[in-house]
């Protein structure tokens, strides 16, 4: 006796297949041509790019806000919302005149007052903004179109700071929004950028929708990096976070997506072999791995011990362990990155070459006598996971006593802000990554800040480094800035604040029909057509 007949089974199977094919056709057809479906590197939870330094909030900022200045593909500063820059004869008064036709997304005009309030909010939060504001005696609006900086010294810092490409980016907001105190998040998301944030369609964790802003007037210059004409060529950009990169790649290869913002090197062959998509890096300088010392506790309170690691470490070991493919990493000794305006190898000779003999010599000079080094090991961020074991291995090779503690990133982030001794819940070292946009000069490179208590976790304390950072801020020309950079590298060699462990790429994957993806150091979605 049979409870199921073959005929019933076959009928069911055929119906199911027909149904699924029909459904697929329907869903594919519903995918409008002018929608760009993007998998961002994270889910944008916080929509205030001044309140947080999270990169995903910065990327959201580039969608809906505009900047006064921007860096082009060569790292040169270009005006963006600004039409002209005028300087007084003594160089102390800098007037920025806005372009005609700039509008907020509620179709009201952008005014100089809006920009002044925006600069003030950013200048109260961001380290580079604070440095800029420390030289500003008065910041005001002259009419609707002119922003006037009255500086205590003549400096090129205004354009340098206002073109800062990475977190926190000086985005312009309407005055009523920018009046929100810096310690509170904004609640209205209105900018003057090429796309409008569609709050109604925002589904946290699932979907962020941006729509083309018809009132945006792009510059006439060709797009280059983050500068030039920001022309929105698609009607809607939809961010859909996908946690599993393998599934994101499957989906891209199946034609369900247009762009995956960040693809790990080991997954790139899956994209290339399938032939449905191609690889392009929006951030050619890439990112940098960085080991951070805590100078408050032994043994890294001793500069000689810190110097020993400059000799013991080499970048290739770290890059091989994490990236693995030399096409996607660069060994680079320059403190402010290779391929960037302040690249120099000055004072870097002999460092980062795993010279264990020299490292041991320095440990001995520093009086190291086997104190335990507590190395924090992040386990749930794939691009960081393999770094700490390499560091442990290299430190042990020169006779250091290393205790590696594994933890999730949230725990590490909480622990790194503790100044307690390692045995009481503090730490000695951890390794992280920065995008090169954050490291392009001595003012943006946060780990170089050596202002003791006010410095970032690790709390380095060096009057000389701080003086040289100040010299950089006061420099009036690129030559003067470069001289400060060279002097800084010498000072850093004597008083290491962190160790740079090489540059690496985290490129994007794009469907074959997607064109115009810009390489500005930050993934941006204007100029893209499909």
């Amino acid at each position: 006796m049979s409870l199921f007949t073959h005929r019933a089974f076959l009928t069911g199977a055929v119906t199911a297949i027909a149904l699924s094919l029909g459904i697929q056709a329907i869903t594919r057809a519903a995918h409008a041509e002018t929608e760009l479906l993007v998998v961002p590197h994270a889910d944008p939870k916080i929509l205030d790019p001044i309140w947080t330094t999270a990169y995903i909030s910065r990327n959201h900022g580039y969608m809906i806000y505009d900047t006064l200045f921007s860096l082009d593909a060569n790292g040169e500063i270009q005006p963006q919302m600004v039409d002209t820059v005028t300087r007084s004869e003594d160089g102390k008064t800098v007037t920025l005149t806005l372009r005609e036709g700039l509008m907020w997304h509620d179709n009201t005009p952008v005014t100089a007052h809006d920009c002044v309030v925006s600069i003030q909010r950013w200048g109260g939060k961001d380290a580079m903004g604070q440095k800029l504001m420390s030289f500003v005696e008065n910041l005001s609006a002259d009419g609707d179109m002119n922003i006037v900086f009255e500086m205590s010294i003549p400096t090129g810092l205004v354009e340098l700071a206002l073109s800062k490409p990475s977190s926190n980016v000086p985005f312009m907001m309407p005055a009523r929004v920018a009046e929100t105190p810096g310690d509170e998040q904004i609640t209205e998301y209105i900018g003057s950028g090429p796309y409008v944030f569609n709050e109604e369609e925002w589904q946290p964790g699932t979907r962020v929708v941006y729509e083309k802003f018809d009132g945006y007037v792009p510059r006439t210059e060709a797009p280059s990096g983050l500068a030039g004409g920001k022309v929105a060529k698609v009607d809607r950009v939809i961010w859909t976070p996908i946690r599993d990169i393998q599934q994101a790649v499957n989906s891209l290869n199946a034609g369900e997506l247009d762009i995956i913002e960040s693809v790990p090197a080991d997954v790139i062959p899956l994209v290339e072999d399938a032939g449905a998509a191609y690889i392009k890096d929006p951030n050619p300088p890439g990112l940098q791995y960085t080991a951070r010392y805590n100078v408050l506790h032994p043994p890294f309170d001793n500069a000689k011990v810190r110097q020993a690691l400059l000799y013991a470490f080499n970048q290739e070991d770290f890059l091989e362990a994490t990236v693995g493919n030399p096409d996607y990493y660069t060994v680079c000794k320059a403190l402010f990155g290779c391929g960037l305006p302040f690249e120099t190898d000055a004072h870097m000779e002999g460092l980062l070459e795993s010279n264990f003999a020299k490292a041991r010599e320095l440990l001995e000079e520093g009086g190291y006598n086997g104190e335990e080094v507590l190395l924090m090991h992040s386990t749930n961020v794939p691009v960081l996971t393999n770094l700490a074991p390499v560091a442990k291995d290299l430190m042990e090779a020169i006779g250091m006593n290393v205790k590696m503690e594994s933890m999730d990133w949230s725990t590490l982030v909480a622990r790194r802000s503790k100044k307690d001794a390692p045995a009481d819940g503090g730490w000695n070292m951890f390794i992280t990554a920065w995008t090169m946009g954050d490291l392009i000069n001595p003012l943006t490179a946060a780990f170089l800040n050596s202002s003791c208590e006010s410095a970032l976790f690790g709390w380095p304390c060096s009057e000389e480094i701080e003086k040289l950072r100040d010299d950089f801020a006061r420099a009036g020309s690129h030559e003067e800035q470069m001289a400060a950079v060279v002097a800084l590298q010498a000072a850093w060699r004597e008083y290491p604040t962190h160790i740079h462990l090489g540059q690496w790429a985290s490129p994007s994957a794009l469907a074959k029909n997607v064109d115009g993806y810009l390489q500005g150091g930050v993934p941006v979605f204007w100029n893209i057509s499909k």
């Binding site: 006796m1 699924s20 697929q24 869903t27 519903a30 310690d183």
Partner: protein
Amino acid sequence: MGLYLLKRLLATIPVMLFVAVFIFLLLRLTPGDPAAMLAGDYATDAQIEEIRQKLGLTEPLLKQFIIWFFNTIQGDLGESFYFKKQVTDLIAARLEPTLSLSIVTILLTVSIAVPMGVIAAYRQGSWTDRLLMGFSALGFSVPVFVIGFALVYVFAIKLDWLPVQGYKRISGGLLPWITYLILPSLALSVIFIAFIARMTRTSVLEVLGEDYIRTARAKGQTESKVLVRHALRNAAVPIVTVIGFAFAILIGGVVVTESVFNIPGLGLLTVEAVLNRDFPAIQAVVLLFSLVYVLINLVIDLTYTLLDPRIRY
């Protein structure tokens, strides 16, 4: 019955209270700082401390608990640290995908597992039985994500019949909704099919040896009627218990499947909340899961009276 129901509902209060205290303390004792996560990598100590104060995390633990507790019993589960949205709204938005996935999975599971178990019991010792129980053992052994990826490879990539990932809301149409649920439900149902099929087989086997089955056959009833009306109905109590628990597990524990298929449900919300130490969100979802477990238990107990007239409360 009414009194029993009232007693059971009242009994949920101390359970929920215990869960509330436990999860609140557990989160505060776990390493990690939501303020540091919110502030981003560049934030200074002063900025982190400022955020901590804004979130109320610098208040004494008892005060934090009392505020949260009294807000919760008034239905205010608080605002997510991250999304700056009410947790109730976040949960409401995530409920549909998880419920959809759970219901489709349970329907799929029951419609496959119960007949499988009955057939295996009916054909005990035969090749059919061995084959079905072999499949059952395999279903137990293979992790859900492996099954998920295998299904995606075959049905989405190679055959291009179904989407790789994602979720469409039911308001967007029944066909897109079910299309996006087929693969995740299949992946998720395998382990439950394995479990429920075994349970059904065992229960039906016990019943098949009973006198009333012999009597039913002697009356000349067809085999299918004997199996469904007499054997399965009398074997139903343990099967329904397992199905009920499976449903509770599905609502609270489909994290891997939701991750693999990118379904924005409660499982993913829980993972994100835990990784970011979003205390209000974690507390709310854990309370919700606990409540679901308690209520499903109650429903299962009440179902027994329908299935077995001898059971009375």
